[in-house]
Symmetry: C2
Subunit: 282 residues, 2 copies
Protein backbone atom coordinates (compact mmCIF):
# COMPACT_ATOMS: atom_id res chain seq x y z
CA UNK A 1 0.00 0.00 0.00
CA UNK A 2 1.60 3.24 -1.20
CA UNK A 3 0.34 6.65 -0.14
CA UNK A 4 1.50 10.26 -0.42
CA UNK A 5 3.88 11.19 2.38
CA UNK A 6 2.16 13.03 5.23
CA UNK A 7 5.21 15.09 5.99
CA UNK A 8 6.35 16.51 2.68
CA UNK A 9 7.22 20.16 3.46
CA UNK A 10 8.93 21.21 0.22
CA UNK A 11 9.01 20.09 -3.40
CA UNK A 12 6.21 18.40 -5.30
CA UNK A 13 3.43 16.49 -3.56
CA UNK A 14 1.83 13.35 -4.92
CA UNK A 15 -1.67 14.81 -4.89
CA UNK A 16 -4.22 15.81 -7.54
CA UNK A 17 -2.67 13.41 -10.01
CA UNK A 18 0.78 15.00 -9.77
CA UNK A 19 3.97 13.01 -9.59
CA UNK A 20 5.39 13.08 -6.07
CA UNK A 21 6.98 10.94 -3.38
CA UNK A 22 5.01 8.10 -1.84
CA UNK A 23 5.65 5.97 1.24
CA UNK A 24 4.79 2.42 2.22
CA UNK A 25 4.09 0.90 5.62
CA UNK A 26 7.50 -0.72 5.96
CA UNK A 27 9.32 2.61 6.26
CA UNK A 28 10.32 3.17 2.67
CA UNK A 29 10.07 6.42 0.75
CA UNK A 30 9.72 6.29 -3.05
CA UNK A 31 10.92 9.43 -4.77
CA UNK A 32 10.11 9.82 -8.49
CA UNK A 33 13.29 10.32 -10.50
CA UNK A 34 13.47 13.80 -11.92
CA UNK A 35 13.58 13.94 -15.70
CA UNK A 36 16.79 13.88 -17.69
CA UNK A 37 20.17 14.35 -16.09
CA UNK A 38 18.83 15.38 -12.67
CA UNK A 39 17.29 12.02 -11.92
CA UNK A 40 20.37 10.21 -13.19
CA UNK A 41 22.64 12.41 -11.09
CA UNK A 42 20.67 11.70 -7.93
CA UNK A 43 20.83 7.93 -8.54
CA UNK A 44 24.55 8.23 -9.30
CA UNK A 45 25.11 10.07 -6.02
CA UNK A 46 23.31 7.45 -3.91
CA UNK A 47 25.17 4.68 -5.75
CA UNK A 48 28.52 6.43 -5.17
CA UNK A 49 27.69 6.87 -1.50
CA UNK A 50 26.73 3.22 -1.14
CA UNK A 51 29.81 1.87 -2.92
CA UNK A 52 32.32 4.18 -1.18
CA UNK A 53 33.69 1.95 1.56
CA UNK A 54 35.88 4.69 3.06
CA UNK A 55 32.93 6.99 3.73
CA UNK A 56 32.81 7.64 7.50
CA UNK A 57 29.82 5.99 9.22
CA UNK A 58 28.99 8.97 11.43
CA UNK A 59 28.58 11.04 8.26
CA UNK A 60 26.74 8.33 6.33
CA UNK A 61 24.01 8.51 8.95
CA UNK A 62 23.19 12.06 7.81
CA UNK A 63 21.89 10.61 4.54
CA UNK A 64 18.68 8.60 4.03
CA UNK A 65 19.36 4.89 3.57
CA UNK A 66 19.26 3.97 -0.12
CA UNK A 67 17.68 0.71 -1.29
CA UNK A 68 17.98 1.07 -5.07
CA UNK A 69 15.48 2.09 -7.73
CA UNK A 70 12.14 0.68 -8.88
CA UNK A 71 9.56 1.37 -11.53
CA UNK A 72 6.17 2.16 -9.99
CA UNK A 73 2.76 2.71 -11.52
CA UNK A 74 1.94 6.34 -10.82
CA UNK A 75 -1.47 7.77 -10.04
CA UNK A 76 -1.36 10.48 -12.69
CA UNK A 77 -2.17 7.97 -15.39
CA UNK A 78 1.15 8.27 -17.20
CA UNK A 79 2.08 4.65 -16.52
CA UNK A 80 5.32 3.40 -14.98
CA UNK A 81 7.90 5.82 -13.63
CA UNK A 82 11.33 5.12 -12.09
CA UNK A 83 11.65 5.89 -8.37
CA UNK A 84 14.49 6.02 -5.87
CA UNK A 85 13.78 3.75 -2.91
CA UNK A 86 14.90 5.54 0.24
CA UNK A 87 14.39 5.36 3.97
CA UNK A 88 11.20 7.15 5.05
CA UNK A 89 12.73 9.56 7.55
CA UNK A 90 9.42 10.17 9.29
CA UNK A 91 8.01 6.66 9.43
CA UNK A 92 8.52 6.25 13.16
CA UNK A 93 7.42 9.75 14.11
CA UNK A 94 3.87 10.51 15.23
CA UNK A 95 3.82 14.29 15.27
CA UNK A 96 7.08 15.45 13.76
CA UNK A 97 8.11 19.05 13.34
CA UNK A 98 10.15 19.43 10.15
CA UNK A 99 12.07 22.17 8.42
CA UNK A 100 13.64 22.01 4.95
CA UNK A 101 16.57 24.39 4.45
CA UNK A 102 18.12 24.78 1.01
CA UNK A 103 21.85 25.30 1.45
CA UNK A 104 24.35 27.61 -0.20
CA UNK A 105 24.26 31.20 -1.38
CA UNK A 106 24.53 29.82 -4.91
CA UNK A 107 22.22 27.02 -6.01
CA UNK A 108 23.74 26.54 -9.49
CA UNK A 109 26.83 24.46 -10.29
CA UNK A 110 29.71 26.21 -12.12
CA UNK A 111 29.15 24.55 -15.50
CA UNK A 112 25.44 25.35 -15.80
CA UNK A 113 23.83 26.77 -18.91
CA UNK A 114 23.41 30.53 -19.07
CA UNK A 115 19.62 30.24 -18.77
CA UNK A 116 19.87 28.05 -15.70
CA UNK A 117 22.44 30.36 -14.06
CA UNK A 118 20.22 33.39 -14.54
CA UNK A 119 17.10 31.55 -13.33
CA UNK A 120 18.81 30.30 -10.15
CA UNK A 121 20.58 33.62 -9.60
CA UNK A 122 17.25 35.41 -9.64
CA UNK A 123 15.84 33.01 -7.03
CA UNK A 124 18.98 33.28 -4.88
CA UNK A 125 18.90 37.09 -5.02
CA UNK A 126 15.17 37.17 -4.38
CA UNK A 127 15.47 35.00 -1.27
CA UNK A 128 17.71 34.88 1.79
CA UNK A 129 20.19 32.58 -0.01
CA UNK A 130 22.38 35.49 -1.06
CA UNK A 131 22.54 37.40 2.23
CA UNK A 132 22.72 34.45 4.65
CA UNK A 133 23.82 31.47 2.54
CA UNK A 134 20.63 29.42 2.95
CA UNK A 135 16.87 29.69 2.60
CA UNK A 136 13.96 27.94 4.27
CA UNK A 137 12.01 26.04 1.63
CA UNK A 138 9.34 24.48 3.80
CA UNK A 139 8.30 23.65 7.33
CA UNK A 140 5.65 22.21 9.56
CA UNK A 141 5.57 22.70 13.30
CA UNK A 142 3.38 20.57 15.52
CA UNK A 143 2.09 22.72 18.35
CA UNK A 144 -0.10 20.51 20.53
CA UNK A 145 -3.15 18.25 20.14
CA UNK A 146 -5.27 21.38 20.57
CA UNK A 147 -3.42 23.83 18.32
CA UNK A 148 -2.40 21.22 15.75
CA UNK A 149 0.04 21.80 12.94
CA UNK A 150 1.38 25.11 11.66
CA UNK A 151 2.35 24.57 8.02
CA UNK A 152 2.79 27.87 6.20
CA UNK A 153 2.13 27.92 2.47
CA UNK A 154 4.72 28.34 -0.27
CA UNK A 155 3.96 32.02 -0.76
CA UNK A 156 4.67 32.78 2.91
CA UNK A 157 7.87 30.71 2.80
CA UNK A 158 9.12 32.37 -0.36
CA UNK A 159 8.63 35.85 1.07
CA UNK A 160 10.73 35.30 4.19
CA UNK A 161 13.28 38.05 4.93
CA UNK A 162 16.47 37.54 6.96
CA UNK A 163 14.67 38.69 10.12
CA UNK A 164 11.77 36.36 9.32
CA UNK A 165 14.19 33.42 9.04
CA UNK A 166 15.55 34.26 12.47
CA UNK A 167 11.98 34.34 13.79
CA UNK A 168 10.93 31.09 12.07
CA UNK A 169 13.98 29.29 13.46
CA UNK A 170 12.73 30.39 16.92
CA UNK A 171 9.11 29.43 16.21
CA UNK A 172 10.32 26.00 15.13
CA UNK A 173 11.33 25.24 18.73
CA UNK A 174 8.44 27.01 20.44
CA UNK A 175 5.30 25.61 21.99
CA UNK A 176 3.25 28.53 20.65
CA UNK A 177 4.32 28.51 16.98
CA UNK A 178 1.85 30.05 14.56
CA UNK A 179 1.68 32.54 11.70
CA UNK A 180 0.51 35.17 14.21
CA UNK A 181 3.32 37.73 14.30
CA UNK A 182 2.07 39.24 17.56
CA UNK A 183 2.83 36.01 19.42
CA UNK A 184 6.38 36.07 20.74
CA UNK A 185 7.88 32.58 20.27
CA UNK A 186 8.71 31.10 23.69
CA UNK A 187 11.63 28.93 22.43
CA UNK A 188 10.70 26.49 25.18
CA UNK A 189 12.24 23.59 23.25
CA UNK A 190 15.45 25.30 22.14
CA UNK A 191 17.47 23.63 24.87
CA UNK A 192 16.35 20.10 24.00
CA UNK A 193 16.08 20.43 20.21
CA UNK A 194 18.90 22.77 19.26
CA UNK A 195 21.24 22.39 22.24
CA UNK A 196 22.73 19.43 24.12
CA UNK A 197 25.00 16.57 23.08
CA UNK A 198 22.41 15.08 20.68
CA UNK A 199 20.83 18.33 19.61
CA UNK A 200 20.73 19.89 16.16
CA UNK A 201 23.66 22.23 16.82
CA UNK A 202 25.93 19.32 17.79
CA UNK A 203 24.94 17.50 14.60
CA UNK A 204 25.54 20.59 12.46
CA UNK A 205 29.00 21.00 14.00
CA UNK A 206 29.78 17.38 13.13
CA UNK A 207 28.71 18.04 9.53
CA UNK A 208 30.79 21.23 9.47
CA UNK A 209 33.92 19.37 10.56
CA UNK A 210 33.36 16.98 7.66
CA UNK A 211 32.71 19.76 5.14
CA UNK A 212 35.96 21.45 6.17
CA UNK A 213 37.83 18.38 4.93
CA UNK A 214 35.75 16.52 2.38
CA UNK A 215 36.52 17.08 -1.29
CA UNK A 216 34.45 14.21 -2.72
CA UNK A 217 31.19 16.00 -3.46
CA UNK A 218 29.83 19.49 -4.07
CA UNK A 219 26.21 19.70 -2.98
CA UNK A 220 24.43 22.33 -5.06
CA UNK A 221 20.78 22.99 -4.26
CA UNK A 222 20.81 20.31 -1.57
CA UNK A 223 18.69 20.62 1.58
CA UNK A 224 19.26 20.10 5.28
CA UNK A 225 16.24 18.74 7.15
CA UNK A 226 15.65 19.48 10.83
CA UNK A 227 13.27 17.03 12.49
CA UNK A 228 12.08 16.35 16.02
CA UNK A 229 9.05 15.19 17.93
CA UNK A 230 7.56 17.84 20.10
CA UNK A 231 5.58 15.66 22.49
CA UNK A 232 8.55 13.78 23.81
CA UNK A 233 10.68 16.91 24.07
CA UNK A 234 8.12 18.70 26.21
CA UNK A 235 8.23 15.87 28.69
CA UNK A 236 11.98 16.30 28.96
CA UNK A 237 12.61 13.01 27.18
CA UNK A 238 14.64 12.44 24.06
CA UNK A 239 13.03 14.57 21.37
CA UNK A 240 14.93 12.65 18.68
CA UNK A 241 16.26 15.81 17.05
CA UNK A 242 17.71 14.82 13.69
CA UNK A 243 19.63 16.53 10.94
CA UNK A 244 19.50 14.93 7.49
CA UNK A 245 20.71 15.84 4.03
CA UNK A 246 18.38 15.35 1.06
CA UNK A 247 18.02 16.26 -2.65
CA UNK A 248 21.09 15.37 -4.67
CA UNK A 249 20.06 16.11 -8.25
CA UNK A 250 22.81 18.75 -8.50
CA UNK A 251 25.70 17.01 -6.76
CA UNK A 252 29.05 17.27 -8.55
CA UNK A 253 32.42 15.61 -8.11
CA UNK A 254 34.40 17.76 -5.67
CA UNK A 255 37.60 17.38 -7.74
CA UNK A 256 39.80 17.74 -4.67
CA UNK A 257 38.28 21.05 -3.54
CA UNK A 258 36.02 21.57 -0.52
CA UNK A 259 32.40 22.66 -1.02
CA UNK A 260 32.93 26.25 0.17
CA UNK A 261 29.47 27.24 -1.00
CA UNK A 262 27.67 24.69 1.20
CA UNK A 263 30.14 25.16 4.05
CA UNK A 264 29.71 28.95 4.12
CA UNK A 265 25.94 28.55 4.38
CA UNK A 266 26.34 25.87 7.04
CA UNK A 267 28.54 28.15 9.16
CA UNK A 268 25.91 30.86 8.80
CA UNK A 269 23.11 28.47 9.83
CA UNK A 270 25.17 27.40 12.85
CA UNK A 271 25.55 31.04 13.83
CA UNK A 272 21.77 31.56 13.64
CA UNK A 273 21.15 28.50 15.85
CA UNK A 274 23.79 29.61 18.38
CA UNK A 275 22.06 32.98 18.56
CA UNK A 276 18.86 31.22 19.65
CA UNK A 277 20.52 29.00 22.23
CA UNK A 278 22.50 31.87 23.71
CA UNK A 279 20.70 35.13 22.92
CA UNK A 280 23.15 37.99 22.16
CA UNK A 281 22.28 39.83 25.38
CA UNK A 282 22.41 36.78 27.63
Amino acid sequence: MLKASDHQVAGHEATDGKLGPVVDESGRFYKPLQSGERGLKEVAFYEALRSNKTFPDHIRSFFPIYYGTKHLEVSNGSGMHPHLILQDLNSTQVNPSIMDIKMGCRTWPPESSEDYVQKCLQKDRGSTSLPIGFRISGLEVFGSKESGLWKPDKKYIQSLSVDDVRLVLRKFVSSNASADLSVHPDCSLASVVYDGPNGILAQLLELKAWFEEQTLFHFYSCSILFMYEKGSGLEGQNCKAKVKLIDFAHVLDGCGVIDHNFLGGLCSLINFIKGIIVPPNA
Copy 2:
Protein backbone atom coordinates in the same frame (compact mmCIF):
# COMPACT_ATOMS: atom_id res chain seq x y z
CA MET B 1 60.08 61.85 -0.64
CA LEU B 2 57.29 59.78 -2.12
CA LYS B 3 57.88 57.00 -4.61
CA ALA B 4 55.88 54.20 -6.21
CA SER B 5 55.77 51.10 -4.03
CA ASP B 6 58.32 48.49 -5.07
CA HIS B 7 56.06 45.64 -4.01
CA GLN B 8 52.71 46.32 -5.59
CA VAL B 9 51.57 42.94 -6.94
CA ALA B 10 47.95 43.68 -7.86
CA GLY B 11 45.86 46.75 -8.68
CA HIS B 12 47.07 49.95 -10.28
CA GLU B 13 50.68 51.05 -10.17
CA ALA B 14 51.84 54.65 -9.85
CA THR B 15 53.87 54.55 -13.04
CA ASP B 16 53.67 56.19 -16.44
CA GLY B 17 51.65 59.05 -15.00
CA LYS B 18 48.94 56.74 -13.65
CA LEU B 19 47.35 57.18 -10.25
CA GLY B 20 48.65 54.52 -7.86
CA PRO B 21 49.90 53.98 -4.32
CA VAL B 22 53.11 55.65 -3.18
CA VAL B 23 55.25 55.13 -0.10
CA ASP B 24 57.51 57.36 1.97
CA GLU B 25 60.66 56.55 3.92
CA SER B 26 58.95 56.54 7.29
CA GLY B 27 56.93 53.41 6.53
CA ARG B 28 53.71 54.94 5.30
CA PHE B 29 51.72 53.85 2.29
CA TYR B 30 49.51 56.39 0.50
CA LYS B 31 46.65 54.84 -1.41
CA PRO B 32 44.67 57.08 -3.78
CA LEU B 33 40.98 57.09 -2.86
CA GLN B 34 38.94 55.37 -5.53
CA SER B 35 36.35 57.59 -7.16
CA GLY B 36 32.80 57.95 -5.88
CA GLU B 37 31.36 55.66 -3.27
CA ARG B 38 34.23 53.16 -3.31
CA GLY B 39 36.77 55.57 -1.91
CA LEU B 40 34.29 56.83 0.69
CA LYS B 41 33.45 53.27 1.71
CA GLU B 42 37.09 52.37 2.21
CA VAL B 43 37.66 55.46 4.41
CA ALA B 44 34.47 54.65 6.32
CA PHE B 45 35.69 51.12 6.96
CA TYR B 46 39.09 52.23 8.31
CA GLU B 47 37.37 54.88 10.47
CA ALA B 48 34.91 52.29 11.81
CA LEU B 49 37.75 49.90 12.58
CA ARG B 50 39.70 52.62 14.38
CA SER B 51 36.75 53.86 16.45
CA ASN B 52 35.49 50.37 17.41
CA LYS B 53 36.97 49.89 20.87
CA THR B 54 35.61 46.35 21.26
CA PHE B 55 37.46 45.08 18.19
CA PRO B 56 39.84 42.29 19.32
CA ASP B 57 43.52 43.29 19.15
CA HIS B 58 44.72 40.00 17.71
CA ILE B 59 42.33 40.54 14.76
CA ARG B 60 43.13 44.25 14.43
CA SER B 61 46.71 43.26 13.66
CA PHE B 62 45.54 41.61 10.42
CA PHE B 63 44.72 45.07 9.05
CA PRO B 64 47.20 47.76 7.98
CA ILE B 65 47.48 50.56 10.54
CA TYR B 66 45.40 53.56 9.46
CA TYR B 67 46.66 57.12 9.94
CA GLY B 68 43.87 59.12 8.29
CA THR B 69 43.60 60.74 4.87
CA LYS B 70 45.61 63.41 3.09
CA HIS B 71 45.48 65.30 -0.20
CA LEU B 72 48.62 64.72 -2.24
CA GLU B 73 49.88 66.24 -5.48
CA VAL B 74 49.87 63.38 -7.97
CA SER B 75 52.35 62.81 -10.75
CA ASN B 76 49.78 62.44 -13.51
CA GLY B 77 49.30 66.20 -13.62
CA SER B 78 45.69 66.16 -12.44
CA GLY B 79 46.53 68.12 -9.27
CA MET B 80 45.62 67.18 -5.73
CA HIS B 81 44.01 63.82 -4.95
CA PRO B 82 42.79 62.43 -1.60
CA HIS B 83 44.77 59.43 -0.26
CA LEU B 84 44.40 56.99 2.59
CA ILE B 85 47.49 57.01 4.81
CA LEU B 86 48.24 53.43 5.80
CA GLN B 87 51.08 51.38 7.17
CA ASP B 88 53.52 50.31 4.44
CA LEU B 89 53.40 46.57 5.02
CA ASN B 90 56.70 45.97 3.21
CA SER B 91 58.77 48.85 4.55
CA THR B 92 60.98 46.67 6.74
CA GLN B 93 61.37 43.86 4.25
CA VAL B 94 64.38 43.60 1.93
CA ASN B 95 63.35 40.84 -0.45
CA PRO B 96 59.75 40.00 0.33
CA SER B 97 57.73 37.35 -1.42
CA ILE B 98 54.11 38.48 -1.69
CA MET B 99 50.84 37.01 -2.88
CA ASP B 100 47.52 38.84 -3.25
CA ILE B 101 44.46 36.58 -3.02
CA LYS B 102 41.01 38.00 -3.73
CA MET B 103 38.55 36.29 -1.42
CA GLY B 104 35.04 34.94 -1.92
CA CYS B 105 33.33 33.04 -4.72
CA ARG B 106 31.19 36.16 -5.21
CA THR B 107 32.89 39.54 -5.46
CA TRP B 108 29.70 41.61 -5.67
CA PRO B 109 27.62 42.75 -2.68
CA PRO B 110 23.91 41.80 -2.68
CA GLU B 111 22.56 45.27 -3.46
CA SER B 112 24.74 45.92 -6.52
CA SER B 113 23.41 47.27 -9.81
CA GLU B 114 22.53 44.76 -12.50
CA ASP B 115 25.47 45.86 -14.64
CA TYR B 116 27.92 45.47 -11.80
CA VAL B 117 26.54 42.03 -10.85
CA GLN B 118 26.93 40.74 -14.40
CA LYS B 119 30.42 42.25 -14.76
CA CYS B 120 31.66 40.67 -11.51
CA LEU B 121 29.84 37.41 -12.18
CA GLN B 122 31.63 37.10 -15.49
CA LYS B 123 35.01 37.61 -13.79
CA ASP B 124 34.13 35.19 -10.99
CA ARG B 125 33.01 32.53 -13.46
CA GLY B 126 36.03 33.13 -15.69
CA SER B 127 38.48 32.69 -12.81
CA THR B 128 38.94 30.25 -9.95
CA SER B 129 36.67 32.33 -7.66
CA LEU B 130 33.63 30.25 -8.48
CA PRO B 131 35.13 26.75 -8.15
CA ILE B 132 37.42 27.37 -5.17
CA GLY B 133 36.13 30.55 -3.50
CA PHE B 134 39.21 32.70 -4.14
CA ARG B 135 41.55 33.77 -6.92
CA ILE B 136 45.17 34.83 -7.02
CA SER B 137 45.34 38.43 -8.23
CA GLY B 138 49.07 38.97 -8.08
CA LEU B 139 52.34 37.66 -6.73
CA GLU B 140 56.07 38.08 -6.61
CA VAL B 141 58.44 35.42 -5.36
CA PHE B 142 62.03 36.22 -4.51
CA GLY B 143 64.19 33.27 -5.47
CA SER B 144 67.78 34.15 -4.60
CA LYS B 145 70.28 36.90 -5.33
CA GLU B 146 71.17 34.97 -8.46
CA SER B 147 67.72 34.05 -9.76
CA GLY B 148 66.07 37.26 -8.61
CA LEU B 149 62.34 37.87 -8.58
CA TRP B 150 59.61 35.87 -10.31
CA LYS B 151 56.72 38.25 -10.89
CA PRO B 152 54.27 36.85 -13.44
CA ASP B 153 52.28 39.35 -15.51
CA LYS B 154 48.56 39.99 -15.27
CA LYS B 155 47.74 37.83 -18.25
CA TYR B 156 49.42 34.79 -16.68
CA ILE B 157 47.70 35.47 -13.36
CA GLN B 158 44.26 35.85 -14.93
CA SER B 159 44.56 32.56 -16.80
CA LEU B 160 45.29 30.42 -13.72
CA SER B 161 43.20 27.25 -13.45
CA VAL B 162 42.44 25.45 -10.18
CA ASP B 163 45.45 23.15 -10.70
CA ASP B 164 47.61 26.18 -11.50
CA VAL B 165 46.57 27.80 -8.22
CA ARG B 166 47.62 24.68 -6.38
CA LEU B 167 50.96 24.82 -8.19
CA VAL B 168 51.50 28.56 -7.60
CA LEU B 169 50.78 28.13 -3.88
CA ARG B 170 53.61 25.54 -3.90
CA LYS B 171 55.94 27.70 -5.98
CA PHE B 172 55.37 30.53 -3.51
CA VAL B 173 57.24 28.57 -0.83
CA SER B 174 59.86 27.04 -3.10
CA SER B 175 63.49 27.99 -3.60
CA ASN B 176 63.19 27.28 -7.33
CA ALA B 177 60.07 29.28 -8.20
CA SER B 178 59.78 30.36 -11.82
CA ALA B 179 57.31 30.35 -14.69
CA ASP B 180 59.02 27.22 -16.02
CA LEU B 181 56.41 24.47 -15.73
CA SER B 182 58.99 21.72 -16.11
CA VAL B 183 60.59 22.70 -12.78
CA HIS B 184 58.95 20.82 -9.94
CA PRO B 185 58.58 23.23 -6.99
CA ASP B 186 60.64 21.96 -4.06
CA CYS B 187 58.39 23.50 -1.35
CA SER B 188 61.54 23.83 0.74
CA LEU B 189 60.03 26.71 2.73
CA ALA B 190 56.55 25.24 3.31
CA SER B 191 57.40 24.17 6.84
CA VAL B 192 58.62 27.61 7.92
CA VAL B 193 56.26 29.83 5.90
CA TYR B 194 52.97 27.90 5.90
CA ASP B 195 53.40 25.67 8.95
CA GLY B 196 54.45 26.24 12.55
CA PRO B 197 52.97 28.32 15.38
CA ASN B 198 53.65 31.64 13.60
CA GLY B 199 53.13 30.39 10.06
CA ILE B 200 50.51 31.41 7.55
CA LEU B 201 48.21 28.46 8.30
CA ALA B 202 48.08 29.33 12.00
CA GLN B 203 47.21 32.93 11.12
CA LEU B 204 44.50 31.83 8.67
CA LEU B 205 42.97 29.60 11.34
CA GLU B 206 42.89 32.56 13.72
CA LEU B 207 41.11 34.61 11.06
CA LYS B 208 38.69 31.74 10.42
CA ALA B 209 37.73 31.53 14.09
CA TRP B 210 36.92 35.23 13.97
CA PHE B 211 34.93 34.95 10.73
CA GLU B 212 32.84 32.15 12.24
CA GLU B 213 31.59 34.62 14.84
CA GLN B 214 31.92 38.16 13.53
CA THR B 215 28.81 39.81 12.11
CA LEU B 216 30.13 43.38 11.93
CA PHE B 217 31.42 43.46 8.35
CA HIS B 218 30.99 41.69 5.04
CA PHE B 219 34.18 41.89 3.00
CA TYR B 220 33.32 41.75 -0.69
CA SER B 221 36.22 41.82 -3.15
CA CYS B 222 38.72 42.10 -0.32
CA SER B 223 42.17 40.51 -0.52
CA ILE B 224 44.34 38.44 1.76
CA LEU B 225 48.07 39.12 1.44
CA PHE B 226 50.68 36.46 2.19
CA MET B 227 54.14 37.88 2.86
CA TYR B 228 57.47 36.53 4.02
CA GLU B 229 61.18 37.05 3.57
CA LYS B 230 62.87 34.19 1.87
CA GLY B 231 66.43 34.89 2.96
CA SER B 232 65.78 34.60 6.66
CA GLY B 233 63.56 31.55 6.22
CA LEU B 234 66.23 29.62 4.39
CA GLU B 235 68.58 30.08 7.28
CA GLY B 236 65.98 28.56 9.55
CA GLN B 237 65.33 31.86 11.25
CA ASN B 238 62.05 33.66 11.58
CA CYS B 239 60.81 34.23 8.06
CA LYS B 240 58.26 36.78 9.33
CA ALA B 241 55.37 35.11 7.53
CA LYS B 242 52.45 37.50 7.66
CA VAL B 243 48.80 37.41 6.66
CA LYS B 244 47.10 40.77 6.09
CA LEU B 245 43.72 41.91 4.83
CA ILE B 246 43.54 44.77 2.32
CA ASP B 247 41.12 46.53 -0.06
CA PHE B 248 37.90 47.56 1.62
CA ALA B 249 36.06 49.54 -1.06
CA HIS B 250 33.22 46.99 -1.00
CA VAL B 251 32.82 46.35 2.72
CA LEU B 252 29.24 46.32 3.98
CA ASP B 253 27.65 46.29 7.41
CA GLY B 254 27.24 42.65 8.43
CA CYS B 255 23.74 43.31 9.86
CA GLY B 256 24.12 40.52 12.41
CA VAL B 257 24.98 37.82 9.83
CA ILE B 258 28.39 36.20 9.33
CA ASP B 259 30.29 36.74 6.07
CA HIS B 260 29.67 33.23 4.70
CA ASN B 261 31.06 34.22 1.29
CA PHE B 262 34.47 35.23 2.66
CA LEU B 263 34.47 32.41 5.22
CA GLY B 264 33.74 29.74 2.61
CA GLY B 265 36.68 30.93 0.50
CA LEU B 266 38.89 31.12 3.58
CA CYS B 267 38.10 27.50 4.51
CA SER B 268 38.93 26.49 0.95
CA LEU B 269 42.25 28.40 1.04
CA ILE B 270 43.08 26.72 4.36
CA ASN B 271 42.43 23.35 2.77
CA PHE B 272 44.81 24.14 -0.11
CA ILE B 273 47.55 25.19 2.34
CA LYS B 274 47.03 22.07 4.47
CA GLY B 275 47.41 19.98 1.32
CA ILE B 276 50.87 21.49 0.79
CA ILE B 277 52.01 21.04 4.38
CA VAL B 278 50.76 17.47 4.52
CA PRO B 279 50.57 16.08 0.99
CA PRO B 280 47.55 13.76 0.43
CA ASN B 281 49.79 10.69 0.12
CA ALA B 282 51.97 11.47 3.13
